[in-house]
């Protein structure tokens, strides 16, 4: 079928082959037929062939080589998915001959534009390394390069490769340490586990111990049976310790991951805290670990093992959760045993009674193995807590009458151990056990009783010989271990009570002499020589009594998890309690911290390949001023994570890491704004009232032609009505133009002077904000928003790129096929802080399509609290006219003094410049405010071709046409400047035109969608004919006036 021409038949055949493979049957005979299909067009077929190839290539190396060229070709494919999968399969073919090809492919893929391909190359590194370890040096180079990668996609995989290839090259991590810490939250969950484990090891070599004194860890271990946590606390206060900020960074960034749904991540963070955090901070992991106990059985098993180890050293951590470790009858046996272990570890004077009561239930369990384990646990509690020893002992004695012999046997063994620790008057217990002796059949228990008899034979002088007599009868039928103890008992009795037992001993020794087991024969011979006086062995004989009846040290009953702490928690080695292959020891804390400066990275460099056009000199400056960076700093500083960016619709964390991408996406913003920034600092002195940097920029550019312009401005100052101001500052003229239009119905309570002052004061903030808006606008512009297109897609794409941050950055660079338009941002005062009792509000039009309804104009309001107390519940109250359609912003719950928050709202102005009046309310007060839109903000850009424009224009002649001849500032005659001026006034789109003296702009009104067409025909001597065609004639005349002013002035 594989030879068939039909794809479907081939596919069917391949499916059958894969089925064979999955069952473990050998299908390697078909190799030649299969390998032919490697270049198939059908993707499913191709994938199945890949599966086959990877499985059998090792066995059929020569034939496998036939397929290599296909992969090499696919490595150059424009589709990143195909490149990646080709690399995946190529690297999975374990044929040594192609090592050089693989090496080359990995190197190329490591600098691929797609992060997905880079991730695949990180995987390929490990594969190549396992195939040919000689390539190590070269591979390390690639790893080093990939470690610098900023994509969250790559981070996990490359650290995995690092762990596999060169886990000891800690020097490679230094420079990437902080980046990895910061990225951690956004890395996919599997990568998180690997990175956290690696960073744990790293931190142990780079930071000094936060546990105050080096010895404290060991001391804890020794002092553990005393269980006084106070002592530990006392030592902790010893001397001040200052944690390395990087160490702190790691702890802080991993903490949120405790809330992960992935149990492996939670465990990884828990072990990180256990091994790295100061003692008092470790306890925050408790809750999360206890939560994991709700998970699958297997997860419980591993987590319980780790808790068991932890609970030995730190009882306090889990004590409040003791009840979570209560055993249910439905748990699996190994879970039950582990829970028991933990309960035993947690036992102390205060809770022992509760625990013992609980144990009583367990002892009766149907699961006998578990019941036996419980008895052991009781024994351990009894030795650890001296107050309850007697109670435990009595309880255990009661168990001796239990019907189940495993329980009885276990009790005997435990009692034996307990008696040993307290070798005082317990003769009645021994007597009781002697009585039970006949009924007990478990060899271990019988042996234990015999040993007890022998050890304390002086206390039970009557019974011991009797027991020996019974044993002599049954000696031959006993188990080896019992026989040995019988011999022992006989010897001891012989020494203490030779009168009664001499013959019995002789008899037993004779039996032992001919036993089948050589151990017993051996022992018998030894004992005989030791105790029976003869000529040869005089010397030892004297000491026989001291040898046999020496007081024995009591056994220590301890946890099986006692020695597990030598392994890193959460590892396989810890789970199995043996050192597994590839286990990396966790090093001890260094006495002196290595130089922390190795982790310093000069600046957060944007990745070179993406932003080559950025000049070095600009970078630090722009970095500093970026909104998201600001926030990052805030957060690092206070750690409280105040989120004043709730409107930016992306969480703080993603923003933190997304700073580069934002920078990236607003690259052309930077091109335009970076020089404006420079100029702003320069021209600050001359006029600080400038409201938007946009104008500053223009002014800066026009420093030279200014004089000539001023004459023109002088001449026109009369019509302007604002002559003097216009001369000193072009921007204030701009603002006054809006004020002028405001003045008709606006409450004129705000005098211009304080307004300017506040603007000056809050300027840095505004600047930062406005830049952000600009960057958003840039992104939006890539689909130059025809009004009919769904705005949601525009929004979501910007949102996406906000969120996706790093990993999407190359995509966002593709988005920048956009006209380098700029967002003129004029900020207007909505509420002055004097009238607003400390609450001040400013608004501006971000010129984005409104998210809430297409007929609304988006308004961005920045609320600032300039009072000295926090304001609560800021929201929008009554509005007028009542029919006004407003999409309110969400209530701002709380605004701290000095803080500001930016919220967005939507207002349907119905294409009129009538102000929207509404009330801005706080918890206590209400303030009437109004938003007066400039006519230019009531339109939005519309894209159209020149012919369309003309045909539309023809439809809107006559009444719908408004035109005027205007005088223009000479500096304004260039095409670019004109469009800048027009765009600053009205939110319209440029219609590309090949006519030099004609410029066209098109837009639609937001509410009704009526076309607004603006034509500007340049005439001689700085005059121009401005024509506006629209159905909305009122708008047209207002727009005309605004444009006239703008063009005339600049």
């Amino acid at each position: 079928m594989l030879e068939s021409n039909k794809e479907s038949l081939k596919l069917e055949a391949m499916k059958r082959i894969v089925q064979l493979i999955s069952k473990g049957k050998n299908a390697s005979d078909l190799f030649p037929a299969v390998v032919k299909n490697v270049a198939s067009k059908n993707i499913e077929l191709k994938k199945l062939v890949y599966v086959y190839l990877v499985r059998y290539a090792e066995e059929q190396q020569d034939l496998a080589l036939l397929s290599i060229s296909t992969f090499q070709r696919a490595l150059k494919d424009p589709n990143q998915f195909i490149r990646a999968s080709a690399l995946r399969v190529l690297s999975s073919i374990r044929v040594p001959i192609i090592v050089p090809i693989m090496m080359l492919a990995i190197k190329e893929a490591a600098s691929d534009l797609s992060p997905y391909v880079r991730k695949t190359s990180a995987h390929a590194i490990q594969k190549l390394y396992s195939l040919d370890a000689d390539q190590k040096e070269q591979l390390i180079e690639v790893i080093e390069k990939l470690l610098k990668d900023k994509s969250t996609l790559v981070a996990g995989s490359v650290v995995m490769a690092f762990e596999e290839v060169c886990p000891d090259r800690i020097d490679l991590i230094h420079r990437n340490y902080r980046k990895l810490c910061n990225l951690l939250v956004d890395v996919e969950e599997w990568g998180q586990v690997v990175i956290i484990n690696m960073l744990t090891r790293y931190a142990r070599t780079q930071f000094t111990s936060p546990w105050k004194e080096d010895g404290i860890f060991d001391e804890n271990e020794k002092a553990f049976y005393d269980s006084d946590s106070e002592e530990k606390q006392g030592q902790r206060e010893a001397k001040p310790y200052i944690m390395d900020p990087d160490h702190r960074l790691l702890l802080r960034n991993t903490k949120p991951l405790l809330q992960s749904r992935n149990t492996a991540v939670v465990m990884a963070v828990a072990q990180l805290y256990w091994h790295l955090a100061p003692k008092h901070e470790v306890s925050i992991v408790t809750k999360s670990l206890v939560r994991l106990l709700r998970s699958h059985r297997e997860v419980q098993y591993v987590v319980l093992q780790n808790i068991a180890t932890m609970s030995i050293q730190r009882k306090g951590m889990f004590e409040p959760y003791m009840k979570s470790f209560y055993v249910r009858s439905t748990d699996a046996t190994h879970i039950k045993t582990l829970k028991l272990e933990i309960l035993t570890n947690l036992a102390n004077e205060a809770n022992i009674s509760t625990i013992l009561r609980e144990f009583q239930t367990y002892v009766k369990s149907q699961d006998k193995a578990f019941a036996a384990a419980t008895i052991q646990a009781i024994g351990r509690c009894a030795t650890n807590i001296s107050e309850v020893t007697d109670t435990c002992l009595n309880g255990l004695v009661l168990l001796l009458s239990n019907r189940d012999e495993t329980v009885v046997a276990e009790s005997v063994v435990v009692i034996k151990k307990l008696l040993q620790t307290q070798p005082t008057q317990h003769s009645d217990i021994i007597k009781h056990m002697a009585k039970l002796f006949d009924n007990i059949t478990v060899p271990m228990a019988r042996a234990s009783i015999l040993w007890l008899m022998g050890e304390y034979c002086e206390r039970v002088p009557k019974i011991a010989p009797d027991v020996l007599r019974k044993m002599a009868k049954t000696f031959t039928a006993e188990e080896d271990i019992v026989k040995l103890q019988t011999v022992n008992l006989a010897a001891k009795l012989y020494l203490t009570n030779s009168k009664q037992t001499k013959l019995l001993t002789q008899y037993i020794l004779n039996l032992g002499k001919y036993d089948q087991n050589y151990d017993i024969r051996d022992r018998t011979r030894f004992i005989r020589q030791l105790i029976v006086p003869s000529e040869k062995s005089g010397a030892l004989n004297k000491y026989a009594r001291r040898i046999l009846l020496a007081s024995k040290p009591a056994p220590v009953l301890e946890s099986a998890f006692k020695d597990r702490d030598r392994f890193q928690l959460g590892t396989l080695s810890h789970s199995l309690n043996i050192k597994t292959t590839g286990y990396q020891e966790l090093s001890d804390w260094p006495a002196v911290a290595p130089d922390p400066s190795v982790r310093n990275v000069e600046v957060i460099e944007p990745v070179q390949e993406w932003a080559p056009s950025l000049g070095k000199a600009k970078k630090p400056k722009s970095d500093d001023k970026f909104y998201s960076d600001d926030e990052e700093k805030d957060e690092e500083g206070s750690g409280s994570g105040s989120e004043d960016s709730s409107s930016s619709s992306s969480s703080g964390s993603s923003e933190e890491s997304g700073s580069e991408s934002e920078e990236e996406s607003s690259r052309d913003l930077e091109k335009t704004s970076s020089d404006s920034e420079k100029s702003s600092s320069g021209s600050e002195a001359s006029s600080s009232e400038s409201e938007s940097q946009q104008k500053e920029k223009k002014r800066a550019k026009k420093v030279t032609p200014r004089k000539s312009k001023q004459t023109a401005a002088d001449s026109g100052s009369d019509e302007n009505g604002n002559g003097p101001l216009g001369k000193t500052s072009s921007s204030s003229a701009e603002s006054s133009s809006s004020e002028e239009s405001d003045s008709s119905e606006d409450s004129d309570s705000d005098s211009p002077a304080p307004q300017k002052k506040t603007v000056g004061k809050t300027k840095p903030k505004v600047e930062v904000k406005s830049k952000k808006e600009v960057s958003l606008l840039d992104l939006d512009d890539f689909s130059p928003a025809p009004p009919s297109a769904p705005k949601s897609s525009v929004f979501s794409s910007s949102l996406l790129s906000d969120l996706e941050g790093l990993s999407l950055s190359n995509v966002s660079s593709a988005m920048q096929v956009t006209t380098s338009s700029f967002g003129p941002v004029k900020t207007y005062e909505l509420l002055h802080h004097m009238t607003g009792k400390g609450l001040s509000a400013k608004y501006h039009f971000p010129r984005q399509p409104c998210l809430y309804q297409p007929s609304m104009v988006a308004v961005q309001v920045i609320l600032t609290n300039s009072s000295d107390h926090s304001l609560e519940e800021i929201h929008i109250g009554d509005r007028s006219p009542a029919s006004l359609n407003v999409h309110c912003f969400n209530t701002v719950e709380r605004l701290e003094p000095g803080a500001s928050v930016s919220v967005s709202m939507g207002i349907d102005f119905s294409d009129s410049t009538q102000a929207a009046n509404f009330q801005l309310c706080t918890k206590e007060d209400q303030f009437s405010v109004s938003i007066q839109p400039a006519v230019g903000e009531l339109v939005m850009p519309s894209t159209m071709k020149e012919p369309d424009f003309c045909s539309e224009q023809r439809k809107l002649m006559g009444m719908n046409e408004t035109s005027a001849t205007i005088a223009m500032a000479t500096a304004n005659t260039s095409k670019q400047n004109i469009s800048k001026q027009v765009l600053s006034v009205a939110n319209v789109g440029v219609v590309s035109s090949d006519q030099n003296n004609l410029q066209r702009f098109a837009g639609r009104t937001v509410s009704s969608g009526a076309l607004v067409l603006v034509t500007l025909e340049l005439r001689e001597s700085s005059t121009a004919l401005l024509t506006i065609n629209t159905e909305k004639t009122v708008m047209a005349s207002m727009l005309l006036r605004d444009l006239k002013q703008a063009l005339y002035q600049a």
């Binding site: 997905y116 809750k287 098993y301």
Partner: protein
């Protein structure tokens, strides 16, 4: 990390193997089968085993063992979590995770495993991403495919794979936009003989079914978020917002998912909805015993207790039972010795009762421990902790979604000791 995966059926038959690195002979499973033999009950097999050259990490799901083989150090939870994810994916794709279904869909399983793991390291585990690459089999699609020669495998890289929102695919479209949230709470409790609570806690999850067009940004807020003591979230939830405002803000995955799971602080007293009066006794002489169980409502917050089910695992020496139930039916499984009493709705006027005699194998000693009683039940429209969702807001999309919240309280591990 993970070298190979073997799927082993309940009876010990290895029916699927997949290797990501060099092939490891399936004889390695013998160690596992040995351990399984020793443990008896499949639940009792230790999840982590050691063999001379390999380490075996296994999970038991749906009567199947997922056995992974690894040669080097690896965090065992990493593997366990991954295996569960694999099982979840199978369940998601085939409706259930059973031997028959996996055998039926071997090729899809193989394709899935190929995508989920690369060189033993997880690659794509989000069900949304996988579904874009390999479409789940449906009858309709298989018919279409055979006719047209189309394939189940997507040719492009799923958008989710590249983004920071890997759980959601782009371009989702629905005609009915709806978002449903189920708040499911489970009471874990151990009651002792006299009916006093030894231990009780509430664990809750919010299961969501979100079918919304585009890229919606949802915010779910609670009336009383302080109630929640410990929480864990789906990766989509923005943790910072939760920390600062105690609201859940997220871009949801498409379809069904678990939004969060939480634990209600143990300081709060847990309302126990039912009480159990029981008397189980085995007579000292003669091979029989008596059983008498009555269940009544306790703190039900005015709701009816539904789907009440009582499970009693009897001691192994019990031969048969002869019981009469005043309500519902009971069954006795002879092999597992489990009495299952399906009560149904709890009527407070007429309390359900189960009584009768138990006969024990002749000669067997009297079991010294009485069996514990496990109770299963359901209370509709009630979250026993009192948690309430206050509102759900959507940003980023302009349509009005249909929203719904449902509350259910169930018994989790609810055990009565006797």
């Amino acid at each position: 990390m993970i070298n190979s995966l073997f799927l082993i059926s309940h009876s010990g038959d290895i029916f699927l193997e997949k290797h990501w690195k060099s092939v490891i002979s399936r004889s390695v499973c013998d160690y596992f089968l040995e351990a399984k033999e020793k443990a008896g009950d499949p639940e009792n097999v230790a999840p982590v085993l050691q063999t001379p050259h390999h380490y075996l990490i296994s999970i038991y799901r749906g009567k199947l063992f997922f056995l992974s083989v690894t040669q080097t150090e690896v965090p065992p939870l990493f593997v366990i979590e991954f295996l569960h994810r694999v099982a979840d994916t199978f369940q998601d794709y085939f409706g259930d995770c059973s031997e028959v279904l996996i055998k039926e869909n071997t090729v899809t399983v193989y394709e899935l495993l190929e995508e989920m793991l690369d060189n033993g390291f997880p690659l794509a585990t989000e069900s949304n991403v996988l579904k874009e690459m390999i479409r789940p089999p449906t009858i309709l699609r298989s018919v279409v495919n055979t006719l047209t020669g189309g394939s189940n495998v997507g040719g492009t890289l799923p958008t989710g794979q590249l983004s920071n929102v890997p759980w959601r695919r782009a371009g989702v479209k629905y005609t009915n936009n709806e978002a449903y949230f189920d708040v499911i709470e489970e009471i874990d409790a151990i009651l002792d003989k006299s009916g006093t609570t030894v231990f009780a806690e509430i664990q809750g999850v919010i299961e969501a079914c979100v079918k919304l067009t585009g890229m919606p940004d949802l915010t779910l807020s609670f009336m009383n978020p302080r109630l929640l003591d410990d929480v864990s979230f789906h990766p989509c939830v923005r943790f910072k917002r939760w920390e600062s405002e105690h609201v859940l803000s997220f871009i949801p995955p498409d379809g069904n998912f678990r939004l969060m799971s939480y634990h209600v602080s143990s300081q709060n007293l847990v309302a126990i909805p039912v009480y159990v009066k029981q008397n189980i006794s085995f007579l000292e002489t003669g091979s029989c015993g008596r059983l008498d169980i009555t269940i009544g409502p306790k703190q039900t917050m005015g709701k009816t207790v539904e789907s009440l089910m009582v499970t009693i695992p009897m001691p192994k020496s019990v031969l048969s039972v002869n019981l009469t139930a005043t309500q519902g039916t009971y069954t006795f499984d002879l092999t597992t010795k489990v009495v299952l009493w399906d009560v149904g709705k709890l009527n407070p006027q007429k309390l359900p009762n189960l009584r009768g005699s138990i006969s024990i194998q002749t000669g067997a000693p009297k079991p010294e421990e009485n069996p514990s009683i496990n109770i299963d039940m359901k209370l509709q429209q009630l979250a026993i902790s009192g948690l309430k969702v206050s509102r759900l807001d959507m940003y980023g999309e302009k349509y009005k979604p249909f929203k719904g919240v449902k509350y259910v309280t169930k018994a989790g591990k609810f055990q009565v000791r006797t």
